[in-house]
């Protein structure tokens, strides 16, 4: 009888392990296959891209696609612009979001929940609907074709999601820590700068990484608010291979591979903070 139970447990254990690995490998394939396709195709000719099977290797590896990707679209300058915009917009967004989230999460007043709901409703507005007002605003600020304009817009667009994430994290910090700080003489702003802000690092990292990835990949507003290479970002460089009627797909894919590297690196080095921050924020009621 006992051996039967042990056997059954073993069988269930094996099935559990099998399904666990099947599930993981299935999603690994779903995630990796497009990236593998992208990498292989970036070395093909356009004719091979359009006619050969998706995962077939190129007859001759076209390293020239990468040379063209870098030289034709001015990628180095656009790379620098993307880094500046992403870093400054992320920093600006985090500072403003953290202050907003602090007030909503730690200060009790009548409109806490309403204020959070109003800010969160910004997530529901399609960014295309905001194109005309943002264009007018940035134009009136004389920030068209200027990195400052992009930084301002990106910071603002992502405020709702950043406030939500950081608010969720700040809400988990015990009230007693703040009360102790008040007894020790901390002012309102010191409670933020010396207690809550440092303790919210994981939430800030999560919001920061999501913000950075958004800034890195954003195209619509980069196209709308800039006119020249001096203020343009990488995503516009990728489009240099797409003319009105003809697309140089393989050079474009080579450019995409190059532009993906920083976001992959950010995720590789910070995935603990991203996952940790998201789950911490998620379980808080």
């Amino acid at each position: 009888m006992a051996s039967k139970v042990v056997k059954e447990k073993k069988r269930l254990g094996f099935l559990g392990t099998f399904f666990k690995w099947f599930y993981l490998i299935f999603f690994l394939c779903i995630t990796l296959l497009p990236l593998i396709w992208l990498f292989i195709t970036s070395f093909k000719t356009n004719l091979e891209f359009e006619t050969a099977s998706a995962f077939s290797l190129p007859k001759v590896w076209q390293f020239g696609n990468y040379v063209k990707a870098i030289s034709m679209s001015g990628l180095p300058r656009l790379f620098l612009n993307s880094i500046i915009v992403a870093v400054f917009a992320t920093a600006l967004n985090l500072i403003v979001s953290a202050m907003g989230a602090f007030a909503i999460a730690r200060e009790k007043f009548k409109l806490n929940n309403l204020l959070l709901s109003v800010i969160m409703s910004g997530v529901l507005i399609p960014i295309i609907a905001l194109m005309v007002p943002y264009f007018r605003l940035i134009k009136n600020l004389f920030l068209i074709d200027n990195l400052g304009g992009l930084i301002l817009v990106y910071s603002a667009i992502n405020l709702p999601i950043s406030v939500y994430l950081i608010h969720g994290f700040m809400s988990t910090i015990p009230k007693e820590l703040e009360e102790a700080a008040v007894i020790d003489g901390c002012t309102f702003s010191q409670r933020f700068t010396k207690v809550i802000f440092p303790l919210s690092q994981a939430g800030l990292a999560t919001a920061g990484v999501l913000m950075f990835i958004y800034c890195w990949n954003e195209f619509t507003y980069a196209m709308l608010l800039t006119n020249s290479e001096r203020a343009r970002t990488l995503q516009l460089g990728i489009r240099y291979f797409k003319s009105q009627f003809v697309v140089d797909y393989t050079s474009m894919l080579a450019a995409i591979v190059i532009t993906m590297i920083p976001t992959i690196l950010v995720y590789v080095f910070m995935h603990d903070q991203i996952i940790g921050g998201m789950t911490n924020g998620a379980v808080k009621g």
Partner: protein, 420 residues
């Protein structure tokens, strides 16, 4: 203290990149050099990029110290269209730019944001343009854009495939066309390239226009789309092109890369695109290029009609500064002289609405010209006649019909529901 520090930090974050990477918000003034910003999609991989830049450089050299034209590069045509519409909707526009002359763009004729060329075109300037071109850009007596690039989209036939299938002549009627399709399939090839994807289902939209030419005649767009049976009849023929192996299995959802790719690979026998595609076929598929013959679509009540339409118009922002207006007109006149237009046409293969004397082309380009010149009539395409949202509906409705989820009547009704 801390508060002040945070405020200062925020200000610095915004100000540093703004100042360090500012390139100046330029304004023309007084005796200074007048700066004209020319916003265009003719950049990057576009075949007109090099000759247009060359002409701009020549203009700048000739007007050094007085006028300077700066090209603002916009590499993505769809995003550029969205950008221009947003700018126009905001009441502003680049100094000089190009737009697709469709019903959405023409709506901005009612605003004051565009420069009016009507009076200027009453002089010699108008003689630079081909017959009827200025009229195509004139609405309610106002010409607020200059016709520049024309699109002509005859049928491309791969004669190697047709001959291997035992079809020696281009099909002249739909009976001959379906007969040719059967023979092509029997020979192991696919008759037509089609696509429902992209923003406008380009290849299939053009097939639909050729069918409408054949059964509806030269004034088909004057008919009521929702009620006239000719549109349903054409939809039935287009639907048949999607059935029974008459096109590739990836046509539903496929984009221009799919429809063009099959033709480039020598897998499909009949395809539609404009002259801008010639260079690509010549460089990437020389065997297909050698076998290509350009011609009309099959005829029915009407025959030998072609699809031709204004592709890009040059436009300028309205300005109250007479010096700036003079500078803009000077540049536009430079770009539309027959000699300069010929340079663009010769280098890119583009067919322009400006006269282009002395332009020579390769065999397929010559056939393009012959097809257009010999056409019994030219008619604009679907996209020219309807707004952007109606165009977007075309691909959606076509995918439904081609996959058997809608009839031809429902296809027409779905599109008609978007027409205001």
């Amino acid at each position: 203290m801390k508060k002040n520090f945070l405020v200062a930090l925020l200000a610095i974050m915004l100000a540093v990149p703004s100042f360090v990477f500012a390139n100046g918000q330029s304004e023309s003034a007084g005796d200074k050099e007048i700066e004209i910003r020319f916003s265009t999609i003719w950049v990057g991989a576009d075949t007109k990029a090099a000759p247009v830049k060359e002409l701009v450089d020549e203009f700048n050299t000739a007007n050094a110290g007085k006028i300077k034209v700066i090209i603002e590069e916009n590499p993505d045509a769809d995003a550029y269209r969205s950008k221009i519409n947003t700018m126009l909707g905001s009441g502003s526009a680049p100094d000089v730019f190009s737009f697709n002359p469709d019903q959405t763009s023409f709506m901005f004729y009612d605003s004051d944001v565009l420069m009016d060329f009507t009076d200027e075109l009453k002089g010699d300037w108008a003689s630079n343009f081909v017959d009827g071109a200025i009229e195509s850009a004139t609405i309610n007596g106002k010409t607020k854009s200059l016709p520049f690039e024309m699109g002509y989209t005859p049928i491309w036939y791969n004669m190697d495939i047709l001959e291997e299938a035992g079809v020696s002549e281009i099909p002249q009627t739909f009976d001959e066309f379906w007969d040719a399709c059967e023979k092509i399939k029997a020979a192991g090839y696919v008759p037509t390239s089609q696509m429902t994807g992209g923003t406008n289902a380009w290849t299939s939209m053009l097939w639909y226009c050729h069918i409408l030419n054949a059964i509806g005649g030269p004034n088909v767009w004057e008919k009521d789309f929702a009620t006239d049976p000719v549109f349903v009849e054409a939809a039935e023929i287009l639907n048949r092109m999607y059935q029974d192996g008459n096109t590739t299995v990836d046509a539903i959802g496929g984009d221009a890369g799919v429809s063009g790719g099959h033709f480039l690979a020598g897998q499909t026998a009949m395809f539609i695109n404009g002259p801008w595609y010639i260079g690509r076929v010549e460089s990437e598929a020389p065997e297909v290029f050698a076998a290509t013959q350009i011609g009309p679509g099959p005829g029915d009540k009407y025959s030998n009609g072609q699809v031709g339409f204004p592709q890009s118009n040059l436009v300028a922002a309205n300005t109250s500064d007479p010096a700036k207006k003079e500078a803009v007109l000077s540049f536009l006149k430079w770009m539309t002289t027959p000699e300069n237009a010929a340079k663009i046409s010769q280098a890119s293969g583009a067919m322009l609405a400006v006269k282009t004397p002395g332009v020579t082309g390769n065999r397929v380009q010559t056939q393009f010209n012959e097809a257009v010149n010999n056409a019994s009539f030219l008619q604009t395409h679907f996209q020219f006649n309807f707004a952007t949202d109606v165009m977007a509906e075309f691909g959606q409705a076509l995918a439904k019909m081609a996959s058997g989820k809608a009839t031809a009547e429902e296809f027409v009704a779905q599109i008609a529901s978007k027409i205001r």
